[in-house]
C-alpha cells in the first residue's frame, strides 16, 4: 500500500477503536477510587505470610507462577538476542580498539560510584521482601552499575573487568533455581512454588519465607542477563567485523 493508503487504513481503524475506547472508559470506576477487591484479598494474604512488601508477596508468593513465566521470558529473550547477534559465517571477532580519551576526573567518578552502585543494588535485592525493591529492580541497578566502567571509562576497561562466563552462569543458574525452588516446595508442601520456608518475625529480612530466596535468585538472574545482553550488543557493534577476503 502507498504511504497515504496505509495511513488512511490506520486512521479509520484506530479512529473507530479510539472512539469506542473513550466511550467505554467513561464507564470505568473513576481514577483514584477506593474499590479494589483484589487488593483487599492480597494485603491480608501477604501479612499472613509475614511479607511486609505486598508487591513482593504478590510477585513471589501469591502469583509466583507469573513471575516464573516472566523470568523465563527474560532468559529466553536474552538467549535469543545473543543467538541473533552472534558473528555470522563471514565475520570474525577482533580485539576492541582502545580509542578515545576520557578525563581523569570522569574516570575517578566512575571508580568511586561503581562499587557504591553495586552495593546499593545488592541492598535493593536483599531487602526486596520488606522494602520497595526486589530482584528485578536490584538486578537492573547492579547491571547498569557495572557499566559505569564503560560510561566513564572505555570499552576495553569494561571488557577486561567483565569476563562473560560468570555472568552467563549467574543468568542460567538463577533462572533454573527458580524452577528448582518451586519443585522443592512441591515435594515439601505439595504445591509448586508454595511459600515453604519459615516466616520469622514480620519486618525482618529473613521473615518472608521463599519470597526472600526467589528474590535473590531473580536478582542474580537479572544481573547476569542484562550484562550478557549488553555484552552481545557491544561486541556486535565494536568487535565484530567482516572477515578479510
Amino acid at each position: 500500500m502507498s504511504r497515504r493508503a496505509r495511513l488512511l487504513v490506520f486512521l479509520l481503524g484506530g479512529g473507530v477503536l479510539a472512539i469506542a475506547f473513550v466511550i467505554g472508559v467513561v464507564d470505568m470506576p473513576g481514577f483514584g477510587g477506593d474499590e479494589h477487591p483484589y487488593r483487599d484479598l492480597a494485603v491480608p494474604s501477604a501479612v499472613a505470610h509475614g511479607t511486609a512488601n505486598v508487591v513482593a508477596a504478590v510477585n513471589f508468593d501469591q502469583r509466583a507462577i507469573d513471575t516464573f513465566g516472566e523470568e523465563t521470558i527474560l532468559i529466553a529473550s536474552t538467549l535469543g538476542a545473543v543467538a541473533l547477534l552472534r558473528p555470522s559465517r563471514e565475520e570474525t571477532v577482533r580485539r576492541p580498539p582502545d580509542l578515545g580519551h576520557t578525563l581523569e576526573s570522569t574516570r575517578l567518578i566512575g571508580y568511586v560510584l561503581m562499587p557504591l552502585t553495586l552495593v546499593l543494588g545488592a541492598d535493593v535485592v536483599a531487602h526486596g521482601g520488606i522494602t520497595p525493591g526486589g530482584g528485578f529492580q536490584g538486578g537492573v541497578v547492579l547491571a547498569t552499575g557495572l557499566h559505569l566502567l564503560y560510561v566513564t571509562g572505555s570499552y576495553p576497561a569494561l571488557d577486561r573487568l567483565r569476563p562473560l562466563l560468570p555472568f552467563r552462569t549467574a543468568e542460567a543458574l538463577g533462572a533454573a533455581a527458580f524452577g528448582v525452588v518451586g519443585a522443592l516446595a512441591l515435594i515439601g508442601t505439595g504445591s509448586f512454588l508454595a511459600n515453604a520456608l519459615p516466616y520469622g518475625s514480620f519486618g525482618q529480612i529473613f521473615s518472608t519465607g521463599t519470597v526472600q530466596v526467589l528474590n535473590l535468585v531473580v536478582g542474580i538472574e537479572v544481573f547476569g542477563s542484562m550484562v550478557v545482553l549488553l555484552a552481545a550488543f557491544f561486541e556486535q557493534e565494536i568487535s565484530v567485523r567482516k572477515q578479510d577476503a
Binding site: R3, R6, L7, F10, G14, L17, A18, F21, V22, V25, V26, M28, P29, G30, F31, G32, G33, D34, H36, Y38, R39, D40, A42, V43, P44, A46, V47, A52, N53, V54, V55, A57, V58, N59, R63, D66, T67, E70, I73, L74, S77, T78, G80, A81, L84, L85, I130, T131, P132, F136, Q137, G139, V140, G203, V222, S225, L229, A232, F233, Q236
Partner: protein, 115 residues
C-alpha cells in the same frame, strides 16, 4: 478529571502504533512498540491507584492496613518492564542483522517478503 489517566494511556498505545505505521526506520518502529507498551503500564497503574492511599509496603512506621494502592497491578507492571526490555532487545538484534543483510533499515525498502 476522572478519566484523564485512562485517556492518556489509550493515547500512548495508539500513538505508538501510529509511529510504527509511519515509521521509516526499524529502530524507531521498535521504540514505538515500547511506547505502546508503556501505555499499558499507565493504564494498569491508573486502574490500581487510590487517592491519599499509601504504598503497599509496611514497616516500622506503617502498620499493615488496607488503605494502600493496589499492589497487584504494581507487581504485574514491574516484572513486565524488565521483561519487555529484553524482548525489545531481541527485536533490536533482528534490526541489526537486517541492516547488515539488506543495507537498509527503512521498511519501505525491505521488499524481500512480498507476495
Amino acid at each position: 478529571m476522572q478519566v484523564l489517566a485512562y485517556l492518556v494511556a489509550g493515547y500512548l498505545v495508539l500513538v505508538g502504533a501510529y509511529g510504527i505505521v509511519r515509521s521509516r526506520h526499524l529502530v524507531h518502529a521498535v521504540v514505538c512498540l515500547s511506547i505502546s507498551q508503556s501505555g499499558t503500564y499507565v493504564l494498569l497503574l491508573a486502574v490500581g491507584y487510590q487517592h491519599s492511599a499509601s504504598a503497599p509496603v509496611f514497616g516500622s512506621t506503617t502498620r499493615p492496613n488496607r488503605h494502600v494502592v493496589d499492589p497487584v497491578v504494581q507487581a504485574m507492571t514491574l516484572t513486565d518492564i524488565v521483561v519487555s526490555a529484553t524482548v525489545t532487545a531481541l527485536l533490536l538484534a533482528l534490526s541489526v542483522q537486517i541492516n547488515k543483510r539488506h543495507g537498509t533499515v527503512d521498511p519501505d525498502e525491505l521488499i524481500a517478503l512480498r507476495g
